[in-house]
């Protein structure tokens, strides 16, 4: 079976999101530039959520094919 596109997309956004969250929490947030909002943390969380959702769907779809013994080509 062809690679499920949700795996790389989900994976990349999850990784990017976690990096941004980590940077927002422990890096130099540079809050002055964004008027006090820790935008790296917030936006990182949004991206991680998006990536995680995509991955979850990809994994669920895979399980479904596996359990019904569907075509695996």
């Amino acid at each position: 079976m062809k690679l499920d596109i949700r795996i790389p997309i989900g994976g990349m956004f999850l990784v990017d999101g976690l990096i941004l969250m980590g940077y927002g929490l422990f890096g130099h947030p540079d809050l002055a530039r964004t008027q006090g909002t820790n935008i790296n943390l917030l936006w990182g969380a949004a991206m991680a959520l998006f990536g995680g959702t995509m991955l979850t769907f990809a994994i669920l779809a895979r399980k479904k094919v596996g359990s019904t013994g569907g075509p695996s080509h």
């Binding site: 690679l3 790389p8 990349m12 990096i19 941004l20 940077y23 890096g27 530039r33």
Partner: protein
């Protein structure tokens, strides 16, 4: 204006490259036939081909260019989306896709061969192949310049690295790899630019604040206060809006000829729909694409408008000037990224721009290798070989295409005007294409000779119109009027729209006359599936919510609403 990127920014860029290459390697296993390499085995679901359909067009020139136009012309730039794209996307999905997908043609030139004749296909294949090389070269050049200006990277280094990465992922995974990366890039652009719009809008005081500051800007430039924030109200005369175009030229030139010519006949985008897994998925591809497309103005045009508003707020922000003292609009988007995004999000924004340069090149390269292999190599050079031979040729064409693109990038960087000149030539070649397709698909009497001479006639018509007119203040011979100046347009854009209208008209005229004078070589049986009146309506059992017509109506109503809101 060098950007200083932090470590985290480089890490984000690196993560992108790792995933891009990963997609290529993961797809290598399933890319074993030419069918798979050039057409993804016609197996991609509609939502993926749909996102790839707009993403293939959303190169960085588009992102940066639309930001620049947003600053220069304001909300009127949205016409490039709401008039200049959506109606054509609906048309290609509903009316043209049944012939493209149903005919089993593997490329747009191949459709022309099936419908008309060999010479029409040859003409289209050659001009298209040349155009993709130069577009890909221009993307490469744009990226090299951006990396040099923003990060101080060496031009040759950026160009070489991008070419090698693209070579790896297309060589391995073919069209599927390009499509997957386009979808990835789509989400990157959305996530990369949205924070800029969010922060920018907050700074200028929301939409109301933006309107107020842009009204000031409009009156300073002697236009009505709404000229930068309303899209239709100032189209009565070319003098009353910053774009310098009037309503008729805009709707006919941009909305009809140029936009339909691009979205309905350019193989670069049509190839994405042809990779879909069923007729209904192919037809829904451009319709699904239309939904995010109609909201793109908020992502790519709004930043330009925000930049202008900010420059009137006394915050010290202003767009940089070119050496000759005029405003350098092209740097609007990078400038905003630099000023308003903190490290982290800055890296994400940069990655989004890099990704759009990359997929701009990759899209052209995949279209090039398909047209080269199927329409030139297999048709004229070595027909009748085994499939593995053509798959091998496709991979080689990818290498050659990239080498030629690098060459083109250097040619573009060596001659100032060459891109303007090439764009002009391609505009002449492309403008009549839509007329040819329209007649081919809806008039069964149109003949091969008619189509071929119609195309040549359309190109000639465009060139003559251009040679006889010029825009106000033209300083170079490339802008037109090299035979005589019979009419002066208020702007280059207006001249471009009218050149397209003339080209379309002359192509239609010549095709009609020549077709009526020559004999139809194809029988009705041969034209079945290629011409509207000879094709049974596609009867496909699809669920109600997957009907292309329903989706088309939703798309058109939403677009109408957007036009009314920003009227």
């Amino acid at each position: 204006m060098h950007l200083s990127l932090a470590l985290v920014d480089y890490v984000l860029l690196l993560v992108y490259f790792v995933f891009v290459l990963g997609i290529g390697f993961a797809l290598k296993r399933t890319t074993t036939s030419s069918d798979e390499f050039f057409m993804s085995g016609r197996s991609i679901p509609a939502w993926i081909t749909g996102l790839a359909f707009i993403s293939a067009n959303l190169g960085a020139q588009e992102v940066m260019g639309m930001g620049a136009s947003g600053a220069k012309y304001g909300m009127m730039t949205s016409h490039f989306y709401w008039i200049g794209a959506i109606p054509a996307m609906v048309f290609v999905g509903i009316f043209m896709m049944p012939f493209y997908y149903g005919s089993k043609a593997r490329s747009v030139p191949e459709y022309l061969k099936m419908r008309f004749d060999e010479k029409t296909r040859g003409l289209n294949a050659l001009s298209f192949a040349a155009m993709t090389i130069f577009s890909s070269g221009a993307s490469m050049y744009g990226m090299g310049v951006m990396m040099k200006d923003l990060l101080g990277w060496n031009f040759t280094f950026s160009v070489t690295v991008s070419a090698l990465v693209i070579l790896a992922y297309i060589g391995l995974g073919g069209l599927t790899s390009a499509i997957y990366n386009e979808v990835l890039q789509f989400f990157l652009i959305v996530f990369g630019l949205a924070p800029l719009v969010f922060i920018g809008l907050r700074l200028v005081g929301g939409w109301d604040g933006l309107t107020e500051k842009l009204a000031q800007h409009s009156t300073m430039n002697n236009f009505a206060p709404g000229a930068w924030t309303e899209s239709w109200k100032h189209l009565g005369t070319a003098q009353s809006n910053p774009m310098g175009v009037e309503g008729f030229g805009l709707v006919m030139g941009l909305g009809f000829v140029l936009s339909f010519g691009y979205w309905c006949t350019d193989f670069l985008v049509v190839q994405r729909a042809m990779a879909a897994n069923s007729m209904s998925a192919a037809r829904r591809t451009p319709l699904i694409a239309a939904i995010p497309k109609m909201f793109f103005p908020f992502l790519v045009i709004l930043p330009g408008m925000i930049a202008i508003a900010l420059s009137h707020m006394g915050t010290g922000f202003h767009l940089p000037l070119k050496p000759d003292g005029s405003t350098n609009y092209d740097s609007t988007v990078p400038m905003l990224l630099k000023e308003f995004l903190p490290s982290g999000l800055l890296g994400l924004g940069m990655t989004a721009l890099v990704a759009s340069f990359m997929s701009g090149m990759a899209g052209n390269v995949t279209a090039f290798n398909t047209v080269w292999t199927y329409d030139i190599y297999q048709s004229y050079i070595r027909p009748g070989q085994k499939d593995a031979h053509y798959l091998q040729m496709g991979r080689m064409a990818t290498v050659v295409g990239l080498i030629l693109s690098i060459g083109a990038a250097y040619v573009v960087s060596a001659f100032n005007n060459i891109m303007d000149m090439l764009q002009l030539v391609f505009a002449f070649v492309n403008a009549p294409l839509f007329a040819t397709f329209l007649m081919g698909m809806f008039w069964k009497r149109a003949t091969g000779h008619g189509a071929f001479f119609g195309l040549l006639g359309g190109t000639t018509g465009a060139a003559i119109h251009h040679a006889l007119t010029k825009p106000v203040g033209a300083d170079s011979i490339i802008k037109g009027g090299y035979i005589a100046v019979m009419h002066t347009y208020p702007s280059e854009m207006a001249q471009g729209f009218w050149t397209a209208i003339f080209s379309f008209g002359s192509c239609m005229f010549v095709t009609t006359v020549v077709s009526l004078l020559t004999k139809q070589q194809k029988t009705d049986e041969e034209l079945k599936g290629l011409v509207h009146s000879l094709t049974p309506r596609p009867r496909e059992e699809v669920a109600f919510h997957k009907q292309p017509a329903l989706l088309a109506i939703i798309v058109l109503v939403m677009t109408l609403i957007l036009n009314l809101v920003f009227f």
